[in-house]
Amino acid sequence: MTSATDPEPADTLQAAFALGDDDGFEAVYSRLDAVAKRLEEGGLTLDQTLALYEQGIALSRRAQALLDAAEQSIEVLRQGGE
């Protein structure tokens, strides 16, 4: 049914910026950045806008949770250790 001119379905668009379970900060941030840019570019349907906004907020919350996270761990690599 989807023709070339149909807008991308909102849920597909949302999934394109989905969070992975063990994404590091870099992955989360770059996706958040991409979502914000996509919203700024505009040209989206209302559904797409709302889906992206929802995804962006999830990414932002994850990013902030990572930023607020715990103490730095220090692992010591001993001589001869692999």
Binding site: Y53, G56, I74, V76, R78
Partner: protein, 416 residues
């Protein structure tokens, strides 16, 4: 027996090999004054290095002498120090120094050696700016190679903990001065960069130590360290001594930090700054979404207005219906009044037809004793008791005689 005469080639070859085996003669610095300087058409430089006690022929070949030949020319009478090896040249029967580095005297020996190595590794491409890699924007894991007991370790971990605690630190303690330091530091770099599985590797490594004398920092000018840094698969940040100390490691590193603290600053983004950036992105997204929903709302309003205009004029219709309803109610009221009036008329007529009204006019009504109307004379016989009712009351009477054709009973109604 006369001693056996050896051929010349045997002697010269022996001398050549003797010099080659002598490590002191194959890697040495010599200081003296330049004389008999010539440059061949091929670009080789020949000169005699001499002082008050001796002279030594020197050959400074084209592939080594670019800097001296083109940029910092040597002249007769210059006091210089040269680095090279002593070689016996069998064909000419001469001893000469094959020079690979020369620079004006007056510079300390360590500095001269530093300059020699710098020239050598530069030539080899170890400092090539094109090879330098970007540091990761948000490091996942940060490698730290320095002494466990030095100030550098404390400085680096303090800054990292403040700025970017998200990334775990992989610390490899190693001596940073002394004879074993160059090999140990080199091994530490390899152990992080190459020995670990790629996913366990840090994505950036800080190598360094705190300040000290030029001799203290010397390990960071040693070839094993430079080669290990050059071969490291992840970017390396050097942090050796203070701002003014430059080591060859600084030149090989992907980025040079003036101090260990500065290296940590370079490697780690500032958490607060990044938090602000995340919030700014959130604000952007919010503004854009608001804008978009605003557009949708306005569009909905415009559409609603259009639909309103296109729909039948319900208000007008309602008005008309109401008018009709009012008219009907009016008609109904009028009908009801007329009906009431008609009813009243009918009632009057009915009233006029009732016996009571006749009685009112002076007539009397005769009925049998049983109460049945006796509307005809034949209805009663002589001797029968009857009841006669007037408007104001009734009386009992007895029929005395019957007379055909005569008014009934004669007595009945005769007094009316």
């Amino acid at each position: 027996m006369p001693p056996e005469a050896r051929p010349v080639w045997q002697v010269t070859r022996y001398l050549r090999e003797l010099l080659e085996r002598d490590t002191a003669m194959s890697d040495l610095w010599i200081g003296g004054e330049v004389s008999n300087l010539t440059t061949s058409s091929a670009g080789h430089i020949y000169f005699t290095l001499k002082d008050q006690g001796g002279a030594l022929r020197c050959a400074y070949f084209r592939n080594q002498n670019v800097r001296v030949r083109l940029r910092e020319p040597m002249r007769n009478g210059d006091a210089v120090i040269v680095h090279g090896k002593i070689e016996f040249y069998p064909q000419g029967g001469t001893l000469q120094c094959i020079v690979d580095f020369a620079q004006p005297a007056g510079v300390g020996a360590l500095q001269a050696e530093f300059e020699r190595r710098r020239a050598k590794f530069e030539e080899e491409g170890l400092f090539d700016p094109a090879r330098k890699r970007e540091l990761p924007r948000f490091p996942r894991k940060i490698g730290v190679i320095t002494s466990q007991t030095g100030a550098a370790y404390h400085d680096i971990t303090t800054v990292l903990a403040r700025r970017w605690p998200l990334a775990p630190i992989l610390f490899r303690p190693t001596p940073v001065q002394g004879d074993e330091a160059p090999v140990e530091v080199a091994e530490a770099i390899r152990s992080m960069g190459l020995r670990l599985r790629p996913e366990a590797r840090p994505d950036v490594v800080i190598v360094g130590r705190g300040g000290g004398s030029a001799e203290d920092l010397w390990a960071f000018n040693e070839e094993p360290v430079l080669r290990a840094m050059f071969g490291c698969p992840v970017p390396v940040v050097s942090a050796v001594g203070h701002e003014t100390d430059v080591t060859l490691a600084d030149l090989v590193a992907d980025m040079r930090a003036p101090t260990p603290s500065a290296a940590a600053e370079l490697v780690a983004p500032d958490r607060e700054e990044v938090t602000r950036a995340v919030r700014a992105l959130e604000a952007t997204m919010y503004a854009r979404s608001r804008q978009r929903t605003g557009i949708a709302r306005d569009a909905t309003h415009r559409l609603a207005n259009r639909v309103e205009r296109l729909l039948p004029d319900t208000h007008g219709w309602r008005r008309r219906v109401t008018a009709h309803a009012d008219g009907m109610a009016h008609v109904a009221h009028r009908s009801a009044r007329e009906a009431r009036e008609m009813t009243a008329g009918l009632a009057a007529r009915v009233q006029a037809l009732s016996p009571q009204a006749t009685l009112q006019r002076g007539y009397a009504l005769v009925s049998t004793a049983a109460g049945a109307p006796a509307s005809r004379a034949a209805s009663v016989a002589a001797g029968e008791e009857i009841e006669v009712r007037w408007a104001d009351g009734s009386r009992r009477a007895t029929v005395s005689a019957t007379a055909t054709g005569a008014p009934a009973g004669g007595g009945v109604g005769s007094d009316a």
